[in-house]
Symmetry: C2
Subunit: 171 residues, 2 copies
DNA sequence: CATTTGCTTCATAACATTGTGAAGATTCAA
DNA sequence: TTGAATCTTCACAATGTTATGAAGCAAATG
């Protein structure tokens, strides 16, 4: 074997990976995550990732640490096996991505709160920061309701495709 | 005058700016946007930004181009005035931020669609990409309803603070 | 307990990004 | 048209980031 099995896969990973990079993920984690989604297997050893992406094991090591830390991959060690295996947390990718976003928002809120503490709430600038913090808190709360909305959207889209009335979701 | 008027402001900009960097915004645009929010004025010339942040006009030039391109700042030229002035688009910062996010999501969707076209929908990997694209489309649609939810959240929070019943928002 | 396998850490070299001063362009005023 | 003010572009130096090979550790096997 000599690397990624198809050129299409390689380009798909590249394309999707760049989009992930654009939203702040470092390069190698982005490529690894893109590969894990686009490739057909659903479990990978570090060696397979290195082989598949044609990069060194060292690069994979850093990348999967990042992805595991941010909750986008989980690491499992099978008993009687020397190496870890990596996979996405869940059948539902959206759940993974959503969950992974929460700590980021929390981080953001903490930063803005710190900034507010520094400049005070009384100035015009402080007020803008307070408004920003409020909005971020709302965003955070809104995320908790997102699974319900996603389920609702899905059933509507499916209904439209199949031609039946959508299932009514609880408010 | 010799730069940023207070050390608190400087540190607030630094803190908030780093949070913005963490979500993928390049360094200098992040600092400029943080400054524009946290500082007390609401209109800035490029020179004021350079002076306030203690960086060169050249650095500001690139940063504001980025911010204007992504819709986080607008550039206006006052008649009879030599330089442009910059400000946030709107009294409501959340609206600015939300709007700024849409093209990013569209970009993302386009990338995943390209990736799907490359690997096909029939493979397990392709299916995961389709699921991802679906979720992104939902996210995009969900964003359009966000103003309503935000208004609802605000009235609830205000009600809680002031001690009256929240205004009922339309479904 | 030695060996093999597989990941991680580390120093480093290649590469990319950032911010600068200097020069160029554009706009208004006179 | 000249001059002054202000922004933009450019080449470059400083700084960060990335990915690598090599060496080191840890876990399982015999």
């Amino acid at each position: 074997m000599h690397g990624m099995s198809s050129d299409s896969l390689f380009r798909a990973v590249e394309r999707f990976g760049q989009a992930l990079e654009g939203s702040g993920m470092p390069r190698m984690p982005a490529r690894v995550f893109a590969y894990v989604l686009a490739e057909d297997s659903d479990r990978y050893t570090a060696a397979q990732l290195a082989e598949g992406l044609q990069v060194s094991p060292a690069a994979i090591s850093g990348a999967v640490r990042y992805l595991v830390d941010t909750g986008l991959l989980i690491k499992e060690r099978a008993p009687g096996r020397r190496g870890d295996i990596f996979r996405v947390l869940d059948g539902d990718i959206w759940a993974t991505i959503t969950t992974a976003r929460k700590p980021m928002i929390d981080n953001f809120i903490a930063a803005v709160d710190d900034a507010i503490a520094l400049v005070g709430e009384e100035t015009p600038g402080g007020q803008r920061l307070v408004e920003t913090a409020d909005f971020l808190r709302f965003t955070r709360a809104d995320l908790d309701d997102l699974p319900r909305r996603w389920a609702s959207y899905r059933s509507e889209v499916r209904a439209r495709k199949v031609g039946v009335a959508p299932v009514r979701t609880p408010r």
